[in-house]
Symmetry: C2
Subunit: 271 residues, 2 copies
């Protein structure tokens, strides 16, 4: 089900700057029985990302109403919210004022791979570029993710590890990365590339609340390979422990298990 | 006027990957009396850019027919051609096979600033990221161009000079850059960022044919400031000499004038 600027529709103007330039941002989130999970965090991130690009933010109450409306089409839904700068005169200059476009769509939550024992991952050859002006933002310029994801077809491989141009681990093609070193959680600093997701923030908040040391750091690939545990998180999958990266194999770890349970417990309390 | 996959239409599916991820490429070109200028060069560049992203190329005869159809709506037209990977399943993995989307639209050619004496330019603060996998391609991930273009509102400023993260001059927000040093033409190497446009290639071809030394080089900002002449080119504007960049002022130069006349002569022969 889909709402465009609040009305049932399935198409957008071909002059929209989201198509022309990727001039917008998006969110993907879970909803249960018509209620989006972690709405406040997702809306807050959407608003921050819009502000970073100078796109007027959406009205929260309106967007929540639309999200609920599309979410209730499926008991367990994935909702995608896209906000673009809208249509405007030709050329890169942002129209001022602009009329943003909102697309809110839902789909049934897809079956997720059984990942308790961990997933097999691919070390991506594509290196992420450093663009501090766009780092952290979930914007619509995602060709790097597409090129990285196109590196493998093997259905047994569920995610790819992305490094930046300096060889630092940044995240997955669609998820954030954590590693465990001697009972400490570490996650990459995302001030030059990568997307700072809501579930990453939830893990950091849980760690703070639970007295688990957790820091953002620059993490060269070797730190990942040497880590006791490695896992990916995002709003759709929750947590995926990494069992394999090329020839490196990890056994299921206690930290990933604890964090995964904590995320599930939070979700269950909301659903 | 607009054709979408060959049929008159003004909207695209909201599930298109061009919107979702900027997963596509585009061209902007001039047409006179229904005939696109430098069609073969533009189609060839479009095909190369599609190939670089793994998007099946459009059929040349079909695309030319569509381009002529929209172009004839205006005696002097600007035609924009967009090709995306089309709609597909959720997620970054490119659908295989995919069904590309074609949008071909025209508008009257806008009045261009009178620029014989040169334009005033802005030195952009945004630095272009290095992404060799996407460098040179005119893809739909253009947030860097938008952020750079958003740095000024002054209508007297017609273009901005973009540097990369190393301080090398790369081009304008919408045009390619040439400088003149002692009767030699120099243009930035575009293997880490920037777009390698058709008019840039035409200038290089004209230089080769006319015995004007012309090379691609790494050009630190100081080389631009010290140059005898500086100019921008693209398919819509032709050639814009730079008269001013911050406090640096250039008088009209003979090389820019010669190249500009050569481009106009080629265009006039085609129109």
């Amino acid at each position: 089900m889909m709402l465009i600027n609040g009305a049932p529709a399935e198409s957008i103007p071909a002059t929209d700057r989201g198509l022309a330039y990727g001039d917008g941002v998006f969110r993907t989130l879970r909803a249960e029985n018509g209620e989006p999970l972690h709405w406040t965090k997702h809306f807050s991130k959407l608003a921050d990302d819009c502000a970073a690009l100078g796109i007027p933010g959406a009205d929260e109450a309106q967007l929540l109403t639309e999200t609920r409306a599309v979410a209730k089409a499926h008991a367990k839904a994935v909702v995608k919210i896209t906000v673009t700068r809208g249509s405007g005169s030709r050329g890169y200059a942002p129209p001022n004022p602009c009329t943003p476009l909102r697309v809110v769509m839902s789909a049934p939550r897809p079956p997720l791979p059984h990942a308790l024992d961990g997933i097999t991952t691919h070390l991506c050859r594509l290196r992420l570029a450093h663009q501090p002006a766009l780092a952290g933002i979930k914007h619509l310029n995602r060709l790097e993710n597409i090129l990285a994801r196109a590196e493998w077809n093997d259905p047994e491989i569920h995610e790819g590890l992305l490094l930046d141009r300096d060889g630092l681990a940044i995240g997955g093609t669609m998820a954030n990365l954590f590693i465990v070193e001697a009972d400490q959680l570490l996650t990459p600093i995302l001030d030059r590339c990568g997307v700072a997701g809501v579930t990453r923030a939830r893990v950091m908040a849980f760690a703070a609340k639970s007295g688990i040391p957790c820091r953002e750091e620059h993490l060269p690939l070797q730190r990942v390979l040497d880590a006791d545990e490695v896992f990916f998180v995002n709003s759709l999958i929750g947590l995926w422990p990494v069992a394999r990266l090329d020839t490196r194999i990890w056994l299921p770890g206690t930290m990933a298990s604890e964090i995964s349970k904590a995320l599930d417990t939070e979700d269950a309390a909301l659903a």
